[in-house]
Amino acid sequence: MGELGKLHQLIIPFFGHTITLNLEVIVMTWIVFTMLIILGLFAGRKKKILPGPIQAFGELIVSMLYGLTEDALGKERAKTYGPLVCALFMFLLLSNWLGIIPHLEEPTKDLNTTLGLGIMGFVIAHYAGIKSKGFKAYIKEYFQPIFFMMPLNLIGELAKIVSISFRLFGNIMGGSIIILVVSSLTYSVVLPPFLYAFFGLFVGTIQAFVFTMLTIVYISVQVR
């Protein structure tokens, strides 16, 4: 049980402040990046009309996510936001699955990763909103239905970041804690593989999808 709450941190002094880096998370994130780039290279290299297995896999994922984006945002905007959605989903999916490989951990287990992704989605959604409605109409929405609702509307918007990022963090962290505890209670007999299949693969896929869908939904709410 000792592993709970142990963090490898690199603390750098910086003009009187300190910058703290969670080494493990950074390494795991780079592993995910590398895997995605390799997958992309293999899927995009030697494009054929009759696709090979890796190209077919890539096309399947891209067309599915493009379809989702088109449904929510319309054809025009899907061209802008489709690549973002694909990249986000693939990153989250691989991140959530990474924990099933021994000695590797999910980068999404760290709140910093999910909060960063949540803030990214928030900024993109609001940028899209300002771009499509104009600044005035965008600001005006905060004063609906009456002007003194402004602080509550603002908190409501900010709460979206909290809810989207803590959902992913809570699920992945909770799953890995359950796996850790049950493994140590049962001395790693029989149960852990099933738990990994459930929490790593199944819940990880669902949560990656939910996070991506919510990012699309936030963009579409702002745009319309």
């Binding site: 449904d71 929510a72 509550l152 908190i155 409501g156 709460a159 939904v217 579409s220 709410v221 319309r224």
Partner: protein
């Protein structure tokens, strides 16, 4: 162990924050679930309007979530201001 007035006020504020957010989350949670259930029913009946129904569902949920956000605001006020 002597308990002073300020200490009791602080303790009560913490408990109050916990209760405000905890109990305040019940209503919106159930209500938004009902909205989602009815939206599923509506899409099952009329799948062509899926986009419109999704948007309506989100607006309805956002409105019914506002009471949850009020609880959050009150809980944070109790924690940090009182």
């Amino acid at each position: 162990m002597a308990i002073e007035g300020a200490e009791i006020v602080k303790a009560a504020a913490f408990i109050g924050a916990g209760l405000a957010m905890g109990l305040g989350a019940i209503g919106p949670g159930v209500g938004e679930g009902m909205v989602a259930a009815k939206a599923c029913e509506a899409i099952g009946r009329n799948p062509k309007e899926a986009g419109l129904l999704t948007r309506t569902m989100l607006v309805g949920q956002a409105v019914s979530e506002s009471t949850g956000i009020y609880s959050l605001v009150i809980a944070l006020l109790l924690l940090f201001v009182v």
